[in-house]
């Protein structure tokens, strides 16, 4: 490129500006403006993160004594201490079904709310509203509404459907409810934006060509929506996997909802074992990465191009 420019201009020196000449060599000087941001990222994310990873290889004396393995004692403890390792399964048991439910339940709702109709704004607002509630508020609400003395149980008893209060909270289901309340609006928003990216005339074309709604959905809409579904399920999964406050507030923190983040907090806050806490956090990240990789692998087998755009 640059050789051509020099030849073209006839003389040895180009009359183009410095910026232009640098651009010819693939250097974009405006990228320099990223430097402050990079420094921030380095100081506030990359350094502490690497420090944390470093910590995992400096196990406490107690851990080393209990599990052996020198610098890998923390990891050995993680896999061998069933009390710690079981939390992986407990977390997965919460996060996977919740992510799948949020995505699957969002599809029909997003479909229904796609068209223009009276009251659409109100309905959309109602669906999305829980996103503005914090986890703590949601947990509080669940405890009051669905607790043993809550309205729901009292109502069910009064209409003689049950005679003993059902335990809705402080167990697995309490956390599931809380995760659905906070995760569903999120999944719904993402999926409706993906859905609105599919040109409506594509569906109209399928219709004229003789496809009924089931065929249109399965053969046209679903393949075009698949990349969006993958992204949405990754995001809702990660959201649910890192659950902490609701697992403690509406869950059974020492039993069915002893999730990984609780274990990390326990190691850090109660046992003052920073290296073990870091190890659990790093393993959390790794497990999330594995799930994300699997979803992306599935996604890469699907159509990836544009979905026709909003015409």
């Amino acid at each position: 490129m640059s050789v051509l420019t020099i030849k073209g201009s006839g003389a040895g020196t180009s009359s183009a500006s410095l910026r232009h000449r640098l651009a010819e060599r693939g250097i974009d000087t405006s990228l320099l403006m990223l430097v402050p941001a990079l420094i921030f990222a380095l100081a506030l994310f990359i350094y502490p993160f690497s420090y944390g990873i470093g910590l995992t290889f400096q196990p406490s004396a107690a851990t080393q004594q209990a599990w052996g393995g020198g610098m890998f004692a923390n990891y050995i403890a993680f896999f061998k201490d069933s009390f710690v390792f079981d939390s992986v399964w407990l977390t997965m048991r919460l996060a996977l079904p919740v992510a799948v439910f949020n995505v699957l339940a969002s599809i029909p709702v997003a479909f229904k709310l796609r068209h223009r109709f009276r009251g659409k704004k109100l309905l959309t607002t109602l669906v999305v509203l829980p996103i503005t509630l914090g986890t703590v508020l949601t947990a509080q609400g669940l405890l009051i509404f669905a607790g043993r003395q809550g309205w729901l149980n009292r109502f069910l008893i009064q209409i003689h459907l049950i005679d003993q209060p059902i335990q809705f909270v402080n167990n697995y289901w309490g956390v599931v409810f809380s995760l659905v309340i906070s995760g569903f609006p999120f999944a719904f928003l993402l999926i409706s934006s993906y859905l609105s990216g599919i040109d409506p005339s594509i569906e109209a074309a399928a219709k004229v060509m003789g496809a009924n709604w089931h065929q249109r959905f399965r053969r046209v809409i679903l393949p075009l929506l698949a990349p969006g579904l993958a992204t949405t399920s990754i995001l809702t999964f990660v959201l649910a996997f890192s659950v902490f406050p609701s697992a403690r507030l509406v869950g059974d923190a020492m039993g069915a909802t002893r999730v990984m983040s609780l274990m990390a907090f326990r190691a850090f806050g109660e046992q003052n074992d920073y290296p073990m806490a870091s190890t659990i956090a790093v393993m959390m990240g790794l497990i999330e990465l594995v799930v994300i990789a699997l979803v992306l692998l599935w996604r890469s087998s699907m159509y990836k191009g544009s979905s026709g755009g909003k015409g």
Binding site: D199, I202, A205, M209, G210, A211, L224, S307, G308
Partner: protein, 380 residues
């Protein structure tokens, strides 16, 4: 050639109308289409032509009227069961399916055997000359190729009726001309019945057997290209048929064959399309090529002459397109075999038979936002 249209005798539209939230986009459309005809729906944007097409396709429910094929109602049949083919303005190809699979889609929906599907798809691909692109995705094709796929996809199912919604408007000028011929060729060789929506009168005149001119949801005129070209029913149709000069004038004398119209001294003899009387306000329509500057080669035609100031001169190869201003300040476009001097006065002449006089009052309807509503409705 084994792809051929399914036969029917006639498609009838009886008082078809469609309104959106109290505003009517299409009113009282009556039309009988015979099998094998190529009908163009012509009109400016927002005139209801796309609404009409979507109603016939079944993508929009009718608010009034009936659609019948051989006496049987089809407007109550769901879009997917009408057995029509449709070509969309933006092609609407399935972006995740290859060319072959796009074309096969309609056949698969009809539960046709695999070998038969393969044979007919291959035939349709050959028909639109896309053999070497059969396995590509639509995104890898050019606009013209995508349009061919859309056409192949519409005709491969041997539809009773092919609906085309401004199929060429996204293509460049050269390709548009090629595809025009291509569509006409397919129409004839496959024996299709085609309803073609366009806003381009040249396209409509060159392709269609009959034209339907729409304005503000109402039919203005139905006829063959010749009928519309030579005898537009009102000045709106005239405007669409290339009568670029539309001037408001007064009738001064009414003769046996011709009338005289004038505006501030700019006077011409003309032909009245409807009875007029002296003093009427009328709108006069003349094609630029019928209003010539007088020269040695162009004599005054039957004594019909008038004068105007030259304001713009454009070179058009064989001749000059000249913009002139009448003494009354109205702009006209005329043709000249020489380049007149800008600012000078030239003498113009026209055949009285080609100067058409229309009543000035055409029912004016309100704002043209119908198309937006139309689009919003289709996207449901």
């Amino acid at each position: 050639m084994t792809i051929a249209a399914s036969r029917f005798e006639s498609l009838e539209l009886h008082g078809v109308g469609r309104s959106f939230g109290g505003r009517s986009a299409l009113e009282d459309l009556n039309l009988t289409v015979r099998a094998g005809e190529f009908i163009a729906l012509l009109g400016p944007s927002g005139c209801g032509k796309s609404t009409a097409l979507n109603c016939i396709a079944g993508l929009l429910p009718l608010t009034h009227g009936q659609i019948l094929i051989d006496g049987k109602r089809v407007d109550t049949v769901a879009a997917e069961k009408r057995g029509f083919g449709m070509v969309f303005q933006n092609y609407a190809l399935f972006p995740h399916l290859s060319v072959e699979k796009n074309i096969a889609f309609g056949l698969q929906m009809r539960k046709i055997s695999k070998s038969e599907v393969r044979r007919r798809v291959a035939e349709a691909i050959a028909l639109v000359k896309l053999e070497e692109h059969a396995t590509k995705l639509p995104g890898q094709l050019s606009g013209g190729q995508q349009q061919r796929v859309a056409i192949a996809r519409a005709v491969v199912v041997e539809p009773r009726l092919v609906l085309m919604d401004e199929p060429l408007s996204n293509l460049d000028a050269k390709l548009r001309l090629e595809m025009r011929t291509e569509i006409r060729r397919l129409h004839q060789s496959l024996g299709l019945t085609t309803l073609y929506v366009t806003h381009d009168q040249e396209e409509a005149l060159s392709m269609a057997d009959r034209l339907v001119v729409l304005r503000e949801g109402r039919v203005q005129q139905v006829g063959t290209p010749q009928e519309l070209h030579n005898g537009p029913a009102n000045w709106h149709v005239a405007d669409f048929m290339g009568y670029r000069n539309l001037i408001d004038m007064d009738v001064t004398t009414v003769g046996a064959a011709t009338v005289t119209v004038q505006d501030n001294g700019f006077a011409l003899r003309a032909t009245a399309t409807q009875p007029v009387s002296v003093g009427d306000k009328v709108r006069v329509a003349i094609r630029p090529e019928d209003l010539m500057a007088v020269s040695e080669v162009v004599p005054v035609h039957s004594g019909n002459t008038t004068q105007a100031f030259v304001s713009v001169v454009e070179y058009h190869g064989r001749e000059f397109a000249v913009g002139v201003t009448t003494p009354g300040g109205q702009s006209l476009y005329v043709r000249s075999d020489h380049a007149p001097v800008v600012g000078s006065t030239i003498e113009l002449t026209a055949d009285p038979a080609r100067v058409l006089v229309f009543p000035a009052d055409l029912v004016e309807a309100s704002s043209p936002s119908t198309q937006e509503r139309e689009l919003a409705e289709v996207r449901r």
